[in-house]
């Protein structure tokens, strides 16, 4: 959502130098909570990067054979094993939920309570579906003998990294879903319009909170893009 007062400031590199040299704020027009969320996401990016880098290093180092993800994660559709089918559906669901979230932010700023609330709910349901499918995948693999400490397909680290990385990602999605349900309720009740004070923080509610939530949700989608590429496809 673009702020017209910012259009008067110079853009590009010169704008960055001006912003950094000015008083009061470096990120012009950026709400404090939004700035905090961005820096938190930067830190969280480092966490997932470290997980994926460790995965890369260990996978490169093992002498045992590494299982073929397209075989391990194939789903039986009408008797035919379709490689990565479940993962493809999960990717579709998460990206769609990202889309509904972006629309929710838009309608939030337009103060269209109903559209905003329904889109937040749609996002939450998308997230819930994703977690459900992830849980199904876990149970299927556990049934086939994959454990964090060993698996019948190849190097034991395959199971370790699978459960750890998807576990962390799934936890992030679950936390997001919980907050989305809370925000959907707040939207429908009109808390953002009224600036109602939060239960824990006692701070006034505002529609920018939905944009902040949106950033977190898109981050969760972003991490999935990387996990999908490096773990399932590679």
């Amino acid at each position: 959502m673009s702020d017209h007062t910012l259009d008067k400031l110079p853009g590009g590199f010169k704008g960055m130098a001006t912003d950094m040299g000015s008083d009061q704020t470096v990120f012009k027009g950026v709400n404090w909570g939004k700035a905090m969320m961005w820096i938190f996401l930067l830190s969280d990016t480092f966490i997932f990067s470290c997980f994926l880098i460790s995965y890369m290093k260990v996978r490169a180092s093992v002498v045992d054979e590494w299982p073929y993800p397209s075989e391990v994660f194939a789903l039986n559709f009408m008797g035919v094993p379709v490689p990565l089918l479940l993962i493809a559906i999960m990717t579709f669901v998460l990206i769609t939920s990202s889309g509904t979230m972006a629309l929710a932010v838009k309608y939030g700023y337009e103060r269209n309570r109903k559209m905003c609330g329904w889109l937040i709910l749609a996002t939450a349901l998308g997230g819930l579906t994703f977690v459900g499918m992830q849980a199904f995948e876990w149970s299927k693999l556990i049934h086939e003998g994959v454990r964090p400490w060993t698996n019948p397909f190849g190097a034991p680290q395959f199971g370790s990294f699978f459960f750890m990385i998807t576990g962390f990602h799934g936890t992030h999605v679950s936390i997001g879903v919980i907050f989305l349900f809370i925000f959907a309720r707040k939207t429908f009740r009109g808390d953002f319009d009224a600036g109602k004070r939060g239960f824990f923080t006692s701070m006034k509610s505002d529609y920018v909170a939905i944009e902040i939530m949106g950033l977190y949700w898109h981050f969760v989608d972003l991490v999935w893009v990387f996990i999908f590429a490096f773990f399932y496809l590679w």
Binding site: G21, Q24, M36, I47, W149, Q157, M164
Partner: protein
């Protein structure tokens, strides 16, 4: 300074306080400052005892909570060091200290001092108290999360202390927690001890992320009118850069802690290779211990700069105020802090030259390590040049600053020895390394902490600490610390290994017995002399000389609050407006030898200030 300077003939004129992006005219209005971009902060006000003193959201209270908890933890670390030194110097006196105990002391002393004492004190203690005050904010940007961050730290400390009481005791793997040994039976505390350590670290990281977000965003987004980044005191720059480092480096620690916990609890093999334990083949296999080292030091090296950079920033301000002179080369000092911070992510494996990692890495990391020495040395030159021809007040604060410079130069030079791969090979894992990091990370930042407490005690309590007691404290601490660590370099040179429980009978180590004894005696004396400091604090809290407002005649904003100590909300009804940098000391033409940041140009028209 040229003759013209002394005859007040420089061409520097008083500058109007315009910020760069201001486009409106009005040449005659030299006091113009841009209007506020955001409305005044809507603060939470606690009304009960619990919301005012326990679960308090005021950053000043949180800062004191962090300080007290960190110092308490640090005292435990200090006692552990006495036990270690007793074992090394006079093992007959302490027969109850077994080898297992010794390794546990070594581990807990290291982890406590580096993480739970120094990091918590600099970022949580000084950061929380000083950042809002020095930037002109009323509080941190998210006080609720700030409050939660302290209690996370508190719980992390409790969990860490709990590891002393579990079966097997705390972990004895060294503060570096290297696998595979850390989770195998030969190492003390490989049961519950290591698990509690890992849980405590994870909690610490979560808490410090919450706090760190507050510090960073308050500095970037909540400064008062007129406060540009280049008008912030170096204290804020040091703590800011350290916080950025913390936010980016702690993830690597968090990841390594998670993976080691899984290796221990679930039997995964992230770090565990095929291995025998007391002759029995374990179920592990395929993992990579050196990966843990890379992850740990990717965190660990920025961590030591997280400890050092706030010290650099604070000491710059202390030197400046107590020598009545602007910090020499402020702009370059800022760039040096930022450069050191950025480079610190590219030097980590200089802790791993002898680990068996890819041998080509030594070239890369030795190069980057020597490069990072350049901005660090630049800062040392600038501190010295600030003192040069300054109006130096030999207060206790200034003595500690001088002590910092001396010990930091010493420690920094030995760092150059260790940064070179070939020289590091015989010195690695000897007492040379122990002497190096204690000088540069223990003594030097500790000198700054002491100086900072003597300096800001009048602000926090309204009373001055006793100067005579302070001087005794300084001389005991400084000379004592030198007697401990200077001879230790020699021990390292002759090859005495670190993390050894006993000094054995080999000829070269027998020659070091006397040295170990003298170091132990010095350590005990220095440790005991800290009671002078504690006595000074307790006495001055009740009977110290009332300080009044701004007793050191400093320029920075924290001294300009309407109340001393500052009240909730810091500034009363009106937020301060800033017109200059905090280093306008002894400006030619000015009436006094200092010009606070809130003084508009119209009040000091004859003063020939620099454009800042």
């Amino acid at each position: 300074m040229s003759d013209d300077f002394y005859k007040n003939k420089t061409s520097i004129e008083a500058q109007p306080s315009r910020t760069i992006s201001d486009s409106s005219g009005s040449v005659s209005d030299i006091d113009y400052v841009k209007p506020a971009e955001v409305s005044d902060q809507d603060l939470y006000h606690g009304h009960s005892f619990i919301t005012k003193w326990i679960f308090c959201q005021d950053a000043k209270v949180i800062g004191i909570q962090y300080t007290l908890t960190a110092v308490f933890t640090g005292i435990i670390g200090l006692i552990l060091s006495w036990l270690m030194r007793l074992q090394l110097g006079f093992p007959e006196l302490v027969p109850f200290i077994t080898a297992e105990h010794y390794y546990q002391f070594v581990t807990m002393h290291g982890m406590i001092m580096v993480v739970y004492f120094l990091t918590a004190l600099f970022l949580g203690g000084f950061g929380n108290y000083l950042i809002p005050l020095m930037t002109g904010a009323r509080d941190m940007v998210f006080p609720y999360v700030n409050m939660v961050s302290y209690w996370m730290f508190f719980v992390a400390v409790l969990v860490l202390m709990a590891s002393f009481f579990v079966p097997g005791g705390p972990t004895g793997s060294g503060w570096t927690l290297y696998p595979p040994q850390a989770i195998l039976e030969g190492t003390p505390g490989s049961g519950a001890g290591i698990i509690l350590m890992l849980v405590s670290l994870a909690l610490f990281v979560v808490g410090f992320t919450m706090g760190g977000l507050n510090y960073v965003i308050t500095i970037l987004q909540a400064r008062t009118r007129g406060m540009t980044l280049m008008r912030m005191p170096l204290t804020v720059w040091g703590i800011f850069t350290a916080t950025v480092l913390a936010l980016l480096a702690f993830p690597a620690l968090f990841v390594s802690v998670i993976m080691m916990s899984l290796d221990r609890i679930l039997g995964t093999s992230f770090f565990m290779p095929t291995i025998l334990q007391a002759g029995e083949i374990l179920e592990y296999g395929g993992g990579s211990p050196v990966l843990f080292q890379h992850l740990f030091w990717f965190f660990g090296h920025p961590e030591v700069y997280i400890v050092a950079l706030p010290a650099f920033g604070i000491v710059s301000d202390l030197i400046s105020v107590h020598s009545r002179k602007n910090i020499f080369g402020y702009r370059m000092m800022v760039w040096a802090i930022v450069a050191i911070g950025a480079l610190s992510f590219f030097v980590w494996a200089h802790h791993m030259y002898v680990s068996g990692m890819n041998p080509w890495f030594g070239f890369f990391f030795a190069t980057t390590t020597l490069i990072i020495a350049v901005p660090t040395a630049l800062k040392v030159y600038n501190w010295v040049l600030t003192l040069w021809r300054g109006n130096i007040r030999m207060t206790t604060v200034m003595l500690f600053c001088l002590g910092f410079i001396v010990t930091f130069v010493n420690g920094g030079i030995t760092g150059i020895f260790l940064g070179n791969v070939i020289v590091d090979i015989p010195l690695s894992d000897t007492y040379f390394v122990v002497a190096h990091f204690h000088m540069v990370m223990g003594i030097a930042p500790l000198m700054v902490i002491f100086g900072a407490i003597y300096h800001w005690f009048p602000l926090v309590t309204g009373r001055l600490l006793d100067e005579k007691l302070g001087k005794w404290h300084f001389w005991f601490s400084f000379l004592g610390a030198y007697s401990i660590y200077f001879p230790m370099h020699y021990l390292g040179f002759i090859g005495v290994p670190r993390r050894y429980f006993e000094m054995y009978d080999s000829p070269y180590i027998t020659s070091a017995v006397g040295l170990n004894q003298s170091i132990t005696i010095a350590a005990l004396i220095v440790g005991l002399s800290q009671f002078i400091f504690i006595f000074n604090i307790v006495k001055s809290l009740r009977m110290g000389k009332p300080a009044g407002k701004n007793p050191w005649k400093a320029n920075s904003l924290e001294w300009q609050t309407p109340n001393v100590p500052p009240a909730h909300g810091n500034w009363g009804d009106k937020l301060p407006v800033v017109y200059r940098w905090p280093y306008d000391f002894n400006v030619p033409g000015a009436k006094e030898d200092y010009i606070p940041q809130t003084t508009p140009p119209s009040e000091v028209l004859e003063a020939k200030v620099e454009k800042t």
